[in-house]
Amino acid sequence: MIWKRFFKRRARREEAAAELEAHLEREAAENMERGMARDEARRAAHIKLGNTTRILSEISEQDSFGGLETLWHDLRYGARMLVKQRGFALVSLITLALGVGANTAIFTVVDALLIRPLPFPNANRVVVAWERRMPDGEWQNVTSPANFLQWQRENTVFERMAAIFNDSSILSGGDIPEQIATASVTPDFFSILGVNAAIGRVFVPGQDENATANPEAVLGFEVWQRHFASSATVLGTKITLDDKPYTVVGVMPRGFDFFIKQQSFSHKKPEIWVTMHFSAETRASHGRYLQTVGLLRPEVTPAQAQSAMIALASRIEAQDPASMKNWSVNLVPLRMQLTGDISGGLRLLLAAVGLVLLIACANVATLNLARASARRHEIAIRIALGASAKRVVRQVLTESCLLALMGGAAGLCLGCACLSLLKSIAPANLLPPESMSLDVHVFAFAAAVSIACGLLFGIIPAIDAVRVAPREPLQEGAGTVSAGKRRGFARQMLVTAEVAIALVLLTGASLLIRSFHRLTTVDPGFDPQNVLTAWVQFPNARYQKDEEKSQFFARLLDAIRALPGVRSASADGFLPFAGIIAATGVQVEGRPVLPISQLPTVDVSIVEPGFFETLGIPIISGRSFNRSEAFAASGSVVISQSMAQQLWPNESPIGKRVTIYMKRENKPSTVIGIVGDVKHAGLAGAVRPTAYWSYPELGFQFMSLVIRTQGDPRGLIPALRDTVLRVDRNQPIADVVPMETLLSMSVARTRFATRVMAAFASIAFLLAIVGIYGVVSYDVEQRTREIGIRMALGAQRTSLIGQMLKRGMGLAAVGVGLGITASLGLTRLLTSILYETRPNDPLIYLLDSMGLLAVAFLAGYVAVRRISSIEPTAVLRRD
């Protein structure tokens, strides 16, 4: 019934209008009969009938769903108001969008990385067991097969333990051999995590580790898709890794991914898992290269496990002091291990983004408060004209909601944009690979907070207006000084707080930027420009003899040197910034003989001739390796400057002999040259003493090529691949990247955190400035009348401008003061992630404070500039 009327309401309204018109006509006619003039008669009829618009709206209200109709009207009115107050609406929108959007995006990342449970059923009971070198050496050191097996046999706290070795192998059998990241794991590995295969099975726990007869492999989902065309028939077939056959027993589910970066030999996430077997010889080996994980017994806490394992480690140390002296154990919960290196930075970002949300809320509140008095006037007029109080509150609420919803929508868009931006600038391997979508709960939270803020402060004028008689604000006019003094205070507090928070973020970001700048201007010890690097690894079965390997590299390097655009080429066992290098104890000839565990340690690498020249590492004295040393071990060693200073502080090391404990049988090597130090462990890392042997001394299965080119090293990549295949058509190369990329990847996370932090600081800065502008310009508007009177009484415009500006700047100054105090306390938390930058660097505080004040001044000035256009006569006439 009402539906019918609702859809015909326009026709019905016209009908009612016609009826009223007829009524007026009739009444006027009667009046004229009584002797009135026509106009007067018509007027009297109108008076008697009353306001026709109001009658009609009363009638049509009966024909509509009251709520819906009113809502529509209110929305239209609200939209008109927002368009009218474009500035206010726009600033509110931007504020809401930034506050809600940025928050949601960053929290989504934090949630994915830190809060969401790890995708392993047993994750909470899995700990990583490291060796720890006492008293102040490495806390997370890989362990040896001998030690791992003893832990596994004698511990009382783990249900199971497994060892992991991340490796790189050549997967052959396809058209082109592929270098692929693999992991050798003991059979309990998968059952410790509690994961199962998607197809087939994982390794059977407790399988005899000596059953080397049939090595097994489990494929990662992606390699299964890429190489085996997602075929289920792959189960039971043999694949060839480094020329050795493995039987495929299972395929892991999509997204399964387990990689502990710390001291990993390979720096890539493994894609194929194979069973690890210890030969009788390796079972006794004390060479440290294994990562180990353990599944805690259900009743054992990590702390209990830690002390039990330390006791075990002391027993082992007592049994075998020669290898185990000063080595203890350190257990790290899996989650901490996997996220430890980024959690600090992420918490920092989370805190920063929370501050941004606070500022956004404060801004929304300030804006609404500033508008409140203008609204009071408008609302008073509407009430005086007959609007009901309920109706007015409802209308204002609708308007605030409209703005809030638009802000929320803008926030959602911005959030999505921010998230994809974060994804695109995030360093590789930081974010989870599966598609990460905006977190709905977080979005709801951030939106609710800021929208509630807007609503709360948005309806103040309405409630106010309903409480007081409309006469009051109407009489007040637009410019009484006393108006809104109470709310003026609240506004000033909010703006002061905003400035303070903005300064905290600003100093935080400045410190990070300064630290990052310091970091990137660190001299790495070589020239990374125009150098191409590539990883070459032999399958174990080929190139068994050292001479064959040396000859392969000599042939390959000669072929590369002959390529156009190549200035020089060489190879290195461990590239700088790649994360690993071998290290061992050294015994200088003629000094007291000590056990290995008490000797000074140095990093050890092996290089081909021309290595130092190719990378631009200065040769300080002596010579580097010559061509003949590329083919046979000559017992010569080149040492870094810091090694020279540490071992021979007062004499020339050239010609001295030193034993480097790296081989089965160790003979002293003769120092033939000293080269400059290289920041091998990364730009922020300390320089470590390093010894360089020529390649044949250790004859690794792998080397990294370094090639200095004339122009952009990327241009050489195709020619390089061809050359390698020409020298050996079964030999792939991997990780072909320019040295500069390695350098920039090594600081990628720091750069990421710095950029995001800088973005937050800019947002905060912007919002605070908007806040100041809002307060000052509102102040001016409030006092237009007072200013007019003063001008009429002879006050100078400039002095009035100065006065108004002073009030704004006063707020900013207080805010800056508070901000400095807070920053001094809070930036101390940054100490651990800053590189050669003091968290209380006075210059940064000074610059940031001055910058903020200067921009605040500018914003205030723009706001008070209006004074110069105030015409006293116009202002006074207005009321």
Binding site: R5, A22, E25, R26, I55, E58, Q62, P470
Partner: protein, 119 residues
């Protein structure tokens, strides 16, 4: 200020009364709005002044409830006018409301008289 403080009982009473008067005036036969207003004023010896502004919304309300119906026609002097007519439901409603009104008047009188007697 609008009469936002007015107690709702009065409003209901007034509205109900206007409805009653409209229905009563239509008992004689179809009429248009203007006539209805004048009939009420005339019959009450000008004591009850119908606020014309509230007459039309009331007419619409009664029609929406099905107590009266309306149609367009020509009035005495050939002007277009909307004529309202009492429906059967309206007639029943009028009887019921008249009964209630009389009860109400009697009750009010009972309340008023003793107090006057005591004074």
């Amino acid at each position: 200020m609008p009469k936002r403080g007015a107690p709702p009982l009065d409003a209901d009473l007034l509205q109900g009364t206007l409805d009653l008067l409209i229905l009563q005036s239509l008992l004689l036969g179809p009429a248009h709005g203007h006539t209805i207003a004048h009939v009420i004023e005339h019959r009450s010896d000008e004591v009850l002044q119908v606020e014309h502004g509230s007459l039309y919304p009331a007419l619409h309300r009664l029609q929406n409830r099905g107590w009266i119906s309306s149609e367009w026609g020509s009035s005495e002097n050939n002007r277009k006018a909307r004529f309202y007519r009492l429906t059967a439901a309206g007639r029943k409603q009028l009887l019921r409301q008249t009964g209630r009104w009389e009860q109400l008047v009697a009750a009010v009188n009972r309340v008023l008289r003793p107090s006057r007697g005591r004074a």
